[in-house]
Subunit: 197 residues, 2 copies
């Protein structure tokens, strides 16, 4: 009963993050029910994204320009660089409308167990940028988990000798969070990071 | 900061069932990180499915043949037809390996509120099949919800004069279900449908 073209589509769709066979099957049957033009448009938007979008040569954020809009924005300071693991983290940061420096996307976190060392992510590019002399502060905004912490620690050790201030985004209780339900490590970090009111 | 090609991809992906903007964004960033060939393969599998797969002219199930494998299987009897709402329901039925008749996919359920009347789904085609004279039983396996029940009742009324036995799949407690947590309507149906042991 397996139809090769459907089966192939299900397999390809199930490679998307968090998509198991059941969900892929659901998507596939939905796609089969779409108008042909809609399917063509979806396929084209995939190809267009692959062809037009590439990482910015400076910060690594996805862009369809030679230099991304963030890097070429004159209102943004070159003195502060926010280091993140993934391009989507830049999008999350930008939503705060708070940060007016530049970014550096690592495209991953250090993970020796998975064979991801410093040369597998964009750490050399970061060091080169830091050697330019314009940067005063590096905000390490890698995820607050084991890999993110290791990556941040590694970068801090590497960059500190260049005389750049290194900061790490605060760990603490999220807004709307409830003390009772927060894990003890977060609570411990929130205590450590307490500020005078 | 919005990049047209990414935005377009996100919008197209968010049309998939159960996919909101956040999930579509996650898929889009994942796709941007894939190798170009992988993206091309995904796009091609979409187009291939749209081009090669079509509903079987008899039962409506998706197929890449002129007549689907189920309809052309000589081991399957023409005397019993199982009526379902969607092609994916055929796949679910087939997993039981229990049913050895043919299918009829309606491609929807009656829903006057949404403007879906008998001519919007494949009911005329079902009546034509039933007039062929070979069919002895029609198993109505539309979903056990309001729309599915209305659709089943409508079909039963329409086909009964042709002298065909009409049955409806049993409603009851699912295997592994717990009396305590089952809703009262299901429990009521389970009582009504009780059988002598």
């Amino acid at each position: 009963m397996a139809i090769a073209a459907i089966e192939k589509l299900i397999i390809r769709l199930s490679r998307l993050p968090g998509v198991g066979r059941k969900t892929a099957q659901r998507y596939a049957y939905f796609i089969l029910g779409m108008d042909r033009e809609e399917t063509v448009e979806l396929a084209n938007s995939l190809l267009e994204a692959a062809d037009k979008v590439h990482p910015c040569p400076v910060c690594g954020m996805y862009t369809d320009l030679e230099l991304c809009e963030l890097c070429s924005d004159p209102r943004r300071t070159d003195a502060v660089i926010c280091v993140v693991s993934e391009p989507k983290d830049v999008a999350a940061m930008e939503k705060t409308r708070e940060f007016m420096g530049k970014y550096h996307v690592l495209f991953g976190s250090l993970s020796p167990m998975d064979g991801i060392g410093p040369s597998e992510i964009r750490i050399n590019e970061l060091v080169d940028r830091c050697k330019g002399g314009e940067i005063k502060e590096l905000i390490l905004a890698t995820d607050p988990d084991a890999k993110g912490d290791v990556t941040a620690a590694y970068i801090a050790k590497l960059i500190k000798p260049l005389g750049i201030t290194i900061t790490r985004i605060a760990r603490g209780i999220p807004i709307g969070g409830n003390l009772e339900y927060i894990d003890e490590i977060t609570l411990q970090k929130a205590l450590e990071g307490r500020r005078e009111m």
